[in-house]
């Protein structure tokens, strides 16, 4: 397949359509408005549904309705808009509805800035909404990876009946890169039917009910434990990560998304200065590859683990949990649209080594 130059946001939209998604609801917000814009033109062409909702809240609830009706459905937004979707996401998890949610993160808190950042890690991985629930969260580091993962995102959503989030920094949404469409497009007609969906009983079965209310504590507890079991299966099966030169490294950088690129640049700088540094990059930030990280960090050679984020420090919690005290963990980051420089990152490593 020939490479094509695509803008991140547009590639995301196109990848969703190729993944068999025929239903999109969303509300404009920078830096992801090219997603609804692309959808508004191409969804109808693909025989699908594009609807600009009156708000992010309406969008996520339309997603809920459409998912409950059996559709492969997606929404996208950026940080403040994702905050508004938290109740809806919690409902989707409670009602076990599949769907893909794209967050093209910008700087916060509040209105913040429209420039790229990674301040929504906690919200994505811990659930900004109420109750015990999880999302599968993919954190690809370039457009090709977004495109490659999109089909999987929809598949996992359907398989586990839970929402999957694509957690991207604004950079990935705004930039252009050459990409290849590696997988053949999925036709919605070929997807397995969802017997639980509300598509009308046709008088042939008992009514299907999509619901997150379990009024009695016993029922609600049982439901929570059922969800927990499902999440355990996801943890067991769906961890993704990438390592780069971590074998025998002295410094392990941990980073996801754009900062992983910077970390590799920093590793290059350190290399020149005679310090072997590697990069551990979680691709799923939930389930977090704790064990894999632990093993990398536990290597004899490793002296320090440095977390790099476009935030003031969020994933570093997971790094601490993974490393579990076997090595010192430190953090370097900038927020609000400023991206740490490779030099800064390299310096943080030097500092961690006590230099």
């Amino acid at each position: 397949m020939a490479k094509e130059l695509w803008k991140g946001n547009e590639a995301i939209a196109e990848a969703a359509i190729r993944a068999g998604c025929r239903c999109y609801f969303g509300y404009p917000i920078t830096p992801q408005s090219e997603i609804p814009e692309y959808m508004s033109l191409h969804m109808p062409k693909a025989g699908g549904i594009f609807l600009q909702s009156e708000s992010e809240i309406a969008a996520i609830n339309m997603v809920y309705g459409a998912a409950g009706a059996g559709a492969r459905v997606m929404t996208s937004s950026s940080s403040p808009g994702i905050s508004l979707k938290q109740e809806g996401i919690s409902y989707m998890c409670g009602a076990e509805l599949p769907g893909v949610i794209v967050n093209v993160m910008r700087g916060g808190p509040g209105l913040g800035t429209i420039q790229p950042a990674q301040g929504d890690y906690f919200q994505a991985t811990r659930g900004g909404g109420n109750g015990d629930y999880r999302l599968i969260v993919f954190a690809p580091a370039n457009i090709q990876e977004v495109v490659d993962l999109m089909q999987e995102a929809f598949e996992l959503a359907d398989r586990y009946r839970m929402p999957v989030m694509m957690l991207l920094d604004g950079m990935i949404g705004q930039m252009m890169e050459p990409i290849e469409w590696k997988k053949p497009p999925v036709s919605p007609d070929d997807l397995p039917k969802k017997s639980w969906a509300t598509t009308g009983t046709k008088g042939e079965r008992e009514p299907n009910i999509i619901n997150s209310l379990f009024i009695s504590p016993e029922a609600c507890n049982a439901h929570n434990h059922r969800l927990e079991d499902k999440y355990r299966r996801v943890i067991a099966n769906e961890q993704r990560y990438e390592t780069n030169d971590t074998d025998g490294a002295k410094i392990i950088f941990v980073a996801y998304g754009t900062p992983a690129r910077l970390a590799r640049a920093a590793a290059g700088i350190l290399e020149k200065e005679g310090i072997k540094a590697g990069v551990f990059r979680p691709i799923t930030v939930w389930p977090y590859p704790y064990e894999a990280l632990h093993q990398v960090a536990a290597q004899e050679s490793v002296k320090a683990v440095v977390t790099v984020e476009m935030s003031t420090g969020q994933m570093v919690d997971d790094v601490r949990i993974g490393v579990n005290g076997v090595k010192p963990v430190s953090f370097v980051g900038q927020a609000g649209g400023v991206v740490p420089t490779p030099r800064e990152v390299a310096n943080a490593a030097l500092k961690a080594l006590g230099r």
Partner: protein, 248 residues
């Protein structure tokens, strides 16, 4: 002897949790009968709200989704866009529709979303214990308006039928009540007309039904009907507010 009235097949065969004499039950039946009579029970997806009618998903004999508080019109939109040939309705209280859900209902109307909304206005938040609703009458007591709703502080009740009738996408809007057998029959006709228009693809339809909440009004069921007739109808006049079939 022939049966002239019996429980609709549109209702599931289980008891409701509603308080004695609460007219939610009557309104459920009218919706159920309509779906049964139109022969669309197997072809319908309903959306339950958060409010006393939250368990409506257990009571109707058709596919149902339970929506977040106020968001039923958005959920219904999601369903209808995916399944344009299904009959889709929302059943919502006044806290659900006229407070937290104001945006969703207004925009469903604006889009001319081809769904039917049954809006149960009982001038109070029933489920949560009698707090003030946007439709609570001036002077009416509520647990968050212990001295009665004070206009200068909390404003006057909002009239949803009138408000939504200003919107082009609304095809049919009528306000009815169920305080007597005759009113019940009128309410039934209105609800049926709304569903019929939906089936014809005419756009957004909403029937506002003035309903009682004996428990939180602190009245017997029978007195509650009287109170509704005397106090609510003057503020929320019954009638047709929008009917595209009557427009030029």
């Amino acid at each position: 002897m022939a049966i002239v009235y019996q429980r609709s097949k549109g209702l599931a065969d289980i008891e409701t949790h509603y308080c004695p004499g609460c007219t939610h039950g009557i309104i459920h039946r009218l919706v159920a009968e309509t779906l049964e009579e139109l022969g669309v029970l197997g072809n319908t997806v309903g959306v339950a709200p958060v409010g006393c009618s939250v368990f409506a998903y257990d009571y109707f004999n058709c596919d149902m989704q339970e929506a977040a508080h106020g968001r039923a019109p958005a959920v219904a939109t999601g369903i209808k866009r995916v399944l344009p040939d299904k009959v889709v309705f929302t059943y919502q209280g006044d806290g659900d529709l006229a407070a937290i859900g104001t945006g969703e209902i207004t925009h469903a109307a604006m889009r001319g979303e081809n769904i039917t909304t049954v809006f149960v206005n009982n001038a109070i938040y029933g489920m949560t214990g009698g707090q003030m609703a946007p439709t609570t009458l001036v002077g009416q007591r509520a647990t968050t308006a212990p001295l009665g709703r004070d206009k200068s502080h909390a404003g006057s009740p909002i009239r949803i039928a009138e408000m939504l009738a200003t919107i082009d996408g609304a095809a049919y809007i009528e306000r009815v009540t169920v305080t007597s057998p005759a009113n019940v029959m009128r309410a039934k006709r209105a609800i049926k007309k709304a569903f019929e228009l939906q089936i014809e693809g005419r756009g957004f339809t909403l029937i506002e039904v003035l309903s009682t909440c004996p428990t939180n009004w602190g009245l017997t069921p029978v007195k509650a009907l009287e109170w509704l007739n005397e106090n609510m109808i003057p503020v929320f006049p019954l009638g047709v507010y929008k009917d595209i079939t009557k427009e030029a």
